[in-house]
């Protein structure tokens, strides 16, 4: 082992800050002679090489994960603080949901996340949510990644959620919003694959419906009135800067691309509303 071994730790008592603490002193041996250096040096070198070599034929603890290949068997822990998401109490099983999204994504040739915009199921109850728009999460958020936009619901004559805007680009996944929510409306999922090509796609509206809380809708017996309580909200869009809206020289998401070269027509910049 060369210069130091674990047995050369000496335990003693030493005073510090008015107390006596038990101390392990790392002892120092006499420096080795040149002959010892040569001998112990070879020994230590060979020991280290041997340890590395043993891993070739006995991979005892192979901890390498082949990430993109092992996606099917990847187990994300239940508490993993990934993407924020609305809880939908009536939601169908997640497997079915993602299969449906995949199917729509293939048909429309878009990303599954964007494909959620095309889901207009007859069974609207799936997207009923717990959120009341009370803004407790917005207050708890340390860096203003959440904005709650409320509207006045005409049927119930009360405030309700219009858009729950979550900015993934500034979120730090600290879980404060989930713990602060008195209505159990949001949760952190295990999703972590968030790469997109346009940073405007990182500003999400989490709610699918601008609607009052689920129990208030379900108390209403008349389906016609119930339908009037609900307005659909897309995943992107709304009055938040970069929330899917257009900017000067940047077309809105989904809008047709501007064909002219912006350099040659510097005076006529196309602005998508």
């Amino acid at each position: 082992m060369g210069m130091i071994q674990a047995t050369q730790i000496v335990n003693e008592e030493r005073p510090i800050a008015g107390k006596t603490v038990s101390v392990s002193v790392v002892q120092r041996l006499r420096p080795p002679t040149r002959f010892q250096v040569a001998l112990l040096g070879m020994q230590g070198l060979l020991q280290g090489m041997w340890l590395t070599l043993t891993y070739f034929w006995s991979p005892v603890e192979v901890v390498t994960r082949e990430y993109p290949e092992n996606r099917d068997s990847l187990k994300i822990t239940e508490r993993f603080r990934g993407n924020l998401r609305f809880k939908f109490p009536n939601e169908v099983a997640h497997q079915t949901h993602s299969a449906l999204l995949e199917q729509i994504a293939q048909e429309t040739q878009t990303h599954p996340e964007v494909a959620e915009n095309w889901i207009r199921d007859e069974d609207d109850t799936r997207w009923y949510h717990n959120c009341t728009g009370c803004s407790k999460c917005e207050e708890a958020c340390p860096n203003a990644s959440i904005r709650i936009l409320t509207r006045h619901g005409e049927i119930l004559d009360d405030r309700e959620i219009d858009r729950f805007v979550w900015r993934l680009d500034s979120c730090m996944f600290c879980n404060a919003c989930v713990l602060a929510c008195p209505w159990d409306a949001i949760e952190m999922t295990g999703g972590f694959e968030n790469a997109v090509f346009d940073r405007r796609l990182l500003v999400y509206s989490l709610n699918r419906l601008a609607a009052p809380r689920i129990n208030l809708i379900q108390d209403e017996q008349d389906p016609a009135v119930r339908a009037r309580m609900i307005d659909w909200r897309s995943r992107y869009g709304g009055p938040i800067p970069l929330g899917g809206t257009g900017l000067p020289n940047l077309p809105a998401i989904g809008a047709p691309k501007v064909q002219e070269c912006p350099v040659s027509h510097a005076g006529s910049t196309a602005v998508a509303p």
């Binding site: 030493r14 510090i16 790392v26 002892q27 280290g48 822990t77 508490r79 603080r81 407790k136 708890a140």
Partner: protein
Amino acid sequence: MSVQIRTLEEHLHASPQADSELTTQEYLVNMGPQHPIAHGSLRVVLRLDGENVKFVIPVPGYVHRGVEKMCEHLTYRQIIPYTDRLDYLSAIMNNWAVAKTVEKALGIETNARIETIRTIMSELQRLQSHALWWGVTGMDLGAYTAFLYGFREREIIGEIFEETIGARLTMNYIQPGGLMYDIQPDFAAKVKKLIPYLHGCIAQYETLLSGNTIFQERLRNIGVMDGAEALALGCTGPILRASGVPLDLRATEAYGVYDQVNFNVVVGAVGDSWDRYYVRLHEMRESLRIIEQLIDNVPEGDYATLRYNEELILPEGLHYGQTETARGAFGVFIDSDGKRPHPRRLHFRSPSFNNMWVVTRIAAGWRIADFIAIQSSLDLVIPDIDR
């Protein structure tokens, strides 16, 4: 002991004094902020005569984010996730420092279960931090294998964190008046399985690096610093203990349940880079000892004694609390006006900031390669310096 302070500008204008017979010229060379030794982005200006380092002056500030100013607009619960981003390898101890200060100021009671879990988590975090540091030190000195081994242990501990906390790096786990989550039911079993495994890993570390003569020669008697100088520079943590001063807040302040467990404060005999290296390695064994004593009988109780949405307004005045992180004493200094739920002014006393200035005292006179060994043995975390 007086410390001479010369600004970088004065060094630039100082006349080069060549002390060899050849006509040589001194150069000022920037090491960093992109150099691998900079561990992030610390710029170090070296005054070189050939390969001899005449003087070293660190230039921090490349990762400055103004966290202390931001915290003046945040509640105390919102400050805690920001402390994860200072010394990100000791996130739990940083969280604990804020939680401890707020609890002391408001007189919030915690129970034995909370304190025990906090202590276990802190020691796991210390193991994780030292494992990573060991690997990075190996890589700095040219042993790339060590880097992979160090990261292997770090990820295995990280999985235990992920199960209970939900994060691997930015924990945000310890809250004022409790914890964010209760531990998982199989937490104790997993940690108990980990302890013998980690003992084996530390034995592997000894075989791979400690027993290597080249590695020993590169650390032994390089950058010797005695205890008085370390105290004068305000060093804490393993750097101070390697110089022979047994100051460990876990033993002297005895927060958490550290007063109920037996562990030794590891100190060095000489104060050179080898001591700084080996003190940390043996601290890993002591951390495992602490976890062994606690993991079998975590007391029953609630994991939080406060509602999350409770408004915490500290009484007017100055409040200070500190914990022993993997790098030294992390202190939180809060000035509250007693009216708002935000601090009027907040200061983080970060260990790496004081430890960084050691290089100005002990690196002069060595070669560049020795300077790298010295800086590796300091275990700096740059976001902790710049804040």
